[in-house]
Structure formats: structure tokens, C-alpha cells
Symmetry: C3
Subunit: 137 residues, 3 copies
């Protein structure tokens, strides 16, 4: 069994930002030499998410608006008594999940034709890490 681990650090300009990382993950799969296996892509912070969906700008704006509707910024979250102001970012992370696991078949990411992997930053403007862990043979 082979294992290969890589970390990416993001430091977004805006508080919320959605970054297509499909090429980065494919690059790590190639480096790993794994032909059959899986790759875990997981945010290491609790105010970020990872999803697989479309690389279409209109949809990404729709998702951002929808997340703000379902998990809105509010002043009065109990979490803010700690001095934090990012309660909504924790809820958004729970809503979209913080990780995906992608199949690797014949040495390639085994994705459908429109599947793209996104890192979803909900509380940016500071360094945040993501782990990519490849496992297989």
C-alpha cells in the first residue's frame, strides 16, 4: 500500500471565497504513483468546506447566496461571547461538509464529466490549511 500526503495553505483576499482545486488534487495523485485507490480532501479548519460540484460562476454565486440564507451571519450567536464573529462560518461548514473522498482508477481521478472539487472558504483573510491524503496501490 502506498500513502502520499500533501497540505495546501490558502489565504484568501475575501472572507468567503470558492477555489477550484481539481488540478492540484490530480497533481498529487500523479505524484503518489497510486493506480487504484482513493484520495481524501479535507479542510483542516472548522470554518471551511470542500465540495464537488460545477465550475459555473452563476451557480457559485447561487450557492453563496443560499448558504447565507440557510446559515446567515448574525450578531447574537452564543459562540460570539468568546470574542469570535464567525458563528455563521461554522454552520456553513457543517452544511456543505468539510471533506470529500475521490476514487482513483487507472492512475487518474475517477470523476464524472462536470465534477470539479472546490475549497470553500467561509472565514478567510488568514492562512487556512487543507490536507490531501492519497492511499492505494
Amino acid at each position: 500500500m502506498k500513502a502520499h500526503t500533501e497540505y495546501i495553505t490558502f489565504n484568501t483576499r475575501r472572507k468567503r471565497e470558492y477555489i477550484n482545486i481539481t488540478g492540484r488534487i490530480a497533481g498529487e495523485v500523479a505524484k503518489s504513483g497510486v493506480r487504484e485507490g482513493m484520495v481524501l480532501v479535507s479542510a483542516m479548519h472548522i470554518t471551511a468546506g470542500v465540495w464537488v460540484n460545477d465550475a459555473e460562476d452563476g451557480l457559485i454565486e447561487d450557492i453563496d447566496e443560499w448558504l447565507e440564507h440557510l446559515a446567515p451571519y448574525r450578531d447574537d450567536y452564543r459562540h460570539h461571547r468568546t470574542g469570535e464573529t464567525n458563528g455563521d462560518a461554522h454552520l456553513k461548514s457543517l452544511l456543505v461538509h468539510h471533506q470529500v473522498i475521490l476514487p482513483i482508477t487507472a492512475g487518474e481521478l475517477d470523476l464524472g464529466p462536470w465534477q470539479q472539487v472546490y475549497y470553500a472558504e467561509f472565514d478567510g483573510r488568514r492562512p487556512k490549511r487543507l490536507v490531501i491524503k492519497v492511499m492505494g496501490e
Copy 2:
């Protein structure tokens, strides 16, 4: 390490449909010969989901109504400027997640007594694929 990959194509009659695929996955686990490991079950489209929950018709109707409430069909999603009309299906996919990973113990799917695996189609009436990837020993 053994790996076994299978694809299922769905072509549902209705736009939204929920299909119990537990038996299909158990069959692929048996074929793989894996005794200890994991199986990834992942939609290959961005307007479908996979979940583990109850095989109870009333609940499935509740889930469908609830998803339509939280991620409703709307004419005015930005995504629809591309000519698509399935913005809600993308949001529903994000909400329930597009994949699960099931443990395999002693050659069997290691599920709880009521756990059943569903493919959730949110934009059907055309061929859509799902990947099943078994990994272990």
C-alpha cells in the same frame, strides 16, 4: 490490497427519485473478495446525492418535501442564465452530500440494522452514473 470498481447507470422516469441500492453495493463487495476494508459509493453527477437512511416510504416523502423547502426550485437562479433549469438540483446535492463510505467487516457491509443506502436523483430522465469503489484485503 485489492481494489474493485463498478459503475451503475440510472435513467429515472421522474425528475426526482430515490432508489435503494444497498443490495447492489453488497453484490459488488461480494465480487471484490474484500474481507476488511471500505467501499466508496459516489454520484458522478453534480445534481444527485447518496445517503444512508431508512427504507420507509413516508420518510422518503418527508425528505423530498423538506429538500424542496430548503433548496426550492426557482426560475431566477443565476445558473439558469446558462440555459439550465436545474439550479435546485445542485443545491439539493450539496445539502445531502454526493457520497458515503461504508465499512466492510468479515466480508460483509458493516451497516446498522436500519441503514439502507439510497441514490437520490434530483434531475433525472437521462442517464446518470454512480461509482462503487471497493478497497481492502
Copy 3:
């Protein structure tokens, strides 16, 4: 390849309860002897969840209130015609997802500084099981 499987049974005093299980999972990873791999942490019931987020009491109360807002208790779920009264617990489980998969690097859980693993009970006061499955080398 090594595999190690453990089950935890919870029997919470309250209907909804959120339990930090990070230490328990780290203990199973240590027992497994796996240095590079992954550990799946998955509820075996369909009215419970597992998430990775902050160990901060105020936030946990915010999450509980938010889940009740998005997936409320209601008398009139169709599922309740079966005699059950836990329709909301099924929806809450779908919303937060019932599982996470954690990377293991150099023999340790490879988590970010604030990442803690929680078992989320949405229909407690009876025995409920969780499976921990470690896989790697």
C-alpha cells in the same frame, strides 16, 4: 494492509446530545498500529450524525438551535404514521451527515488545531452504536 474495527455504544440521558469522541478515536488509531492511512467514523443509526467542528459550548448550543430551525420537530411528518415520532432526527442526520473520515499521518490523527470529532445524538435515551474502522499500514 492493516484493518482495525471498534464499536462504541452510546445511551444518552437526553434526546439530543453532542459528545466529543476525539480521544476515543485517537485511542483506536493507536491500538491499530497504523502509521499511514485513514479512519472512518460512522454512526450505525439513521437518527444520529458525526461531525468535525469546535469544542466550544456556545457554538454547540448554536448548532442545536440551528438544526431545530432547519429540521424542526413536527407532529405531522408522514414517517410518524408508522408510530415513530423521530422524523426530525432523520432529517437532522441527513443535514450534518452521519460520518467523517480522518487522515492518519505518522501514527497520529492528522487534524487541524481546532478540529474535534463529535457524535451527534438526535434521538437518544436508548443504545445506539458507532463504528470506527481504521485502515492503512
